[in-house]
Structures are given as C-alpha cells and as structure tokens.
C-alpha cells in the first residue's frame, strides 16, 4: 500500500480526532501537499457536522441552559466590543500609571502617597482613583496604596511594612465587586517589607469597591484562602 493510500485510510479517524498524535502529524503533513485528501477531509467533515447537528437536535427539547447564560454571553460580547471600539488615545492614564511604577520603585509607597496629593497629579487625575490600604490587627505596621484608572484595566499597587514570605507563598491582591472577587495578581516584598505590583484586570476596574491582600500559595488561589492582612475600599 502506498503512503497516500495509508494516509487516506486514516482520514475518517483524523476528522473524528481519533488518531494517535504521530498519525495525526503524518496526516497533517500529507494534507499540506495533497488536494485530493483535503477534499476527502472536507467531505468527512460534512459527515461529522451532520452527526453533530442531528445529535444536538435530537437532544434539544430535553435540556435548556439557565436563563442567566444568555445575559453572561451578551455581557461578555459587549465587553469585547467595547475594548475593540476604544479609540486610540495618548493613554495618558497608562503613561501615568507607568510613571507611578517608576516613582514607586524609586521613592517607595509613602512617597507615592504624597505624590498623589500633588498638584501635578490632581491636574491629570481625571478617571484615576486612589485607594489607601491599612493593615489588619496583626499587621498594623503595614500600609499600601492603589492607583487605578477607573476606565482602564491597569493600575499600580505599592505596599510597605509586610514581612517577607517563604518560597512557597506569595501575597495576592483581591478586588471585590458585590459578591464577585477577582485576583489582581501576586507579588513579593523585599527585606524592607516593600513591594509593588502592576495590576491588570480584564474588563476594567469599574465597579470594584473593596480591595484586600492575603497570603496565598506561590501559584496563587482562585479565592482568598487566608485572612486579609491589608484592606481598603472606596
């Protein structure tokens, strides 16, 4: 049997994704240079398409998703549309956030706090919000500042006064909107207890009103597993 014939016999399995990885790679390599086999694949794809539709239609009346699924889909699509339709702008807020990171690295969190009170900051602060974080009862010496662009998805966190963690742990930032909790990222602190984080939140910061920091495993957690050590809110 020729190579071509051997490949041809694998095509139905290929379309069903039932081949071993090596066989699948062989077929893909062959298809790039064989129009006849590509037509065969297209024909078998039509079969699996009809099987999928036939099976789905036979099952349809017995099952229905929850009504809120539609809302989730439309909301996600709206977010995607909003992101795509953003006009290019100087992104001065992002530039400012980047500048804030530089300042944080140079000056530390305390000076960032002072800087946000400066006239220069006020002149450019349209859409920017700052959140002060304070330590809980066991971490009263710790404090922090968050600067975010409410209409963007980037922000900056700086903290001071936190103890260094072992290699298996990280500090994790949490953002809270109603009952929804989202991670803002992981960070560590240096020997002086100072740390910073560039925060990125898909979908933007709008609506988030409470922020906290907890100690989590090094790879992070889906939700806070420990008691918050820093809290703040709008």
């Amino acid at each position: 049997m020729s190579d071509h014939e051997e490949i041809r016999e694998l095509l139905p399995g290929y379309v069903l994704d039932a081949l071993d990885p090596e066989e699948s790679a062989l077929v893909q390599s062959h298809l790039s240079g064989c129009a006849a086999c590509r037509r065969e694949v297209a024909a078998f794809l039509r079969v699996t398409d009809q099987l999928a539709v036939g099976a789905a239609e036979a099952l349809q009346p017995r099952s229905a998703p929850r009504p809120e699924l539609e809302e989730r889909i439309l909301r996600a699509a709206s977010l995607m549309r909003a992101r795509q339709s953003e006009r290019p702008r100087p992104r001065w807020a992002a530039v400012l956030a980047a500048a804030a990171v530089v300042l944080i690295l140079l000056l530390g969190a305390g000076n960032l706090l002072q800087w946000t009170r400066s006239p220069q900051f006020a002149a450019r602060s349209k859409g920017l919000i700052t959140v002060a974080l304070t330590g809980t009862i066991d971490h009263q010496e710790a404090y922090g500042t968050i600067v975010v662009d409410r209409d963007d998805n980037e922000g900056v966190l700086a903290v001071r006064g936190l103890p260094q963690l072992g290699p298996d742990s990280r500090y994790q930032l949490w953002l809270k909107k109603g009952t929804e909790i989202q991670s803002g990222g992981l960070f560590r602190v240096d020997e002086e207890g100072y740390g910073s984080l560039l925060i990125k939140v898909p979908g933007g910061f709008r609506g988030f009103r409470a922020f906290s920091i907890s100690v989590e495993p090094a790879q992070g957690s889906q939700s806070p597993s420990g008691t918050p050590i820093l809290n703040g809110g709008l």
């Binding site: 694998l10 039509r46 398409d49 036979a58 995607m80």
Partner: protein
C-alpha cells in the same frame, strides 16, 4: 505537531421556504436568516448575537451536555461557542456549511477537549445513537427550529441506525466520548485494526447516505 481541527467560517445558504407537512414555521416578514445575523454580528450588533443564541443556544447546550454530562460545564462550553462566533463573525464568508452546523461542530470539539482534559471519558452509552433515537421520539418537533432541520435530523438518525451495531457503537465511542482508535481497542478488547476499519466503514457509509445533504 499540534492537532488542528478544521473550523472554517460558516457557509451561507439562503433560507428556503418550508415545504414539509410535518409542521410549519412561519418566518415573519423581514426576520433575518443566520447569514444576515452573522453579517450583523460582524458589525458588532449585540441584538444579532441575542437572536443567534435564541435560535441555536439550546442545540449547542444540549450537545455539550450530552458529551460532558455536567450542566455547569455545558453552559461554559455554550458560552465559549457563542463568543467564538461573535469573535469570528467578521471573517465570515460563503462556504458549504451552515451557521447551525458550524456551531454544532465547535460545540462537539470543545466538549471533547474538556472531556479529555478531565480524563473523564467513559462508556456511559456504548451506543449513544439509541439514546438519541429515544430522545428524538419523545421530544417531537421543536417549534423553534426550521422544518428542514427536523427532516435532516431524522435522516441522520436513520442513516446511523442503518449501520451494523458494532460500527455504530465504535463510532459512538469516538464521536461522543472522544476516544481514539487505541483507547477504543483497549476498552473493548478488539484489535486495533478492527476498530480502525469499523470507523472507516461507518464514516464511508454515512458519507454515501448523507451525500445529498452536501
């Protein structure tokens, strides 16, 4: 080399006037067909996505649920499918595949991916087509679906039921459970070559029987 599943953009066919005596779906004057909805989605009209979901959401969800057997995950897959349609709407072009078919294809592929990732493939139904036959008999017709899809569904189920039982069962394990030839051979105790030839024969037979639908 990474496996690539062909997921070409949906083809467009114009809606035909229903002619079956089974039931009639009256399309209000001016209601867009799926082609028009894809074009509107490419223009980022949320209303078009809402309508597309209204027409095909249960189909996509039902197929995902059959494969995954977990309602929450099936909803996530359904969401993935429609957001993909939204994302890819601007690459739409006319080819030989309807939007409904394209959505079902993505749903099946995503569901199999999840099943494999979870390692939760099993032989819940060695012949899932029998289960579908019961479901199709009990359910009657879905008034939300165009009449020609009811006929197409029956034709597909008839074609599958015409296969010899061993071909039908082997195909069911590959199609609904995402099993490879090798996994099917190990689970059933059949030689690998036998499994491959059954899949080949089943697909070739179905291709012949369903050719007029192309």
């Amino acid at each position: 080399m990474e496996k690539v599943r062909p997921e070409s953009p949906p083809a467009v066919t114009c809606s035909t006037v229903p002619s079956s005596p089974d039931y009639i779906r009256i399309m209000p004057y001016g209601e867009p067909d799926d082609t028009e909805l894809m074009l509107r989605m490419a223009r980022r009209e949320i209303g078009a996505l809402r309508e597309l979901y209204a027409r095909h959401g249960r189909l996509v969800y039902g197929l995902a649920l059959r494969i995954i057997a977990d309602p929450e995950t099936a909803e996530e897959i359904c969401q993935d499918v429609f957001l993909r349609a939204w994302e890819k709407a601007d690459t739409y072009r006319r080819e030989k595949a309807q939007v409904r078919t394209w959505l079902a294809r993505i749903a099946r592929n995503r569901s199999i991916d999840v099943l494999r990732r979870r390692g939760s493939q099993d032989s819940r139904a060695r012949d899932a087509w029998e289960e579908l036959k019961s479901a199709a008999t009990e359910s009657g017709v879905d008034p939300a679906a165009p009449v020609e899809t009811g006929e197409a569904r029956q034709r597909v189920l008839r074609a599958v039921r015409s296969l010899p039982p061993e071909q039908r069962e082997t195909l069911s394990l590959a199609f609904f459970e995402g099993w490879t030839h090798r996994q099917i051979a190990e689970a059933t105790g059949e030689p690998l070559g036998t499994v491959k030839s059954r899949i080949r024969a089943a697909m070739a037979r179905l291709r012949e029987l369903l050719r007029d639908d192309e």
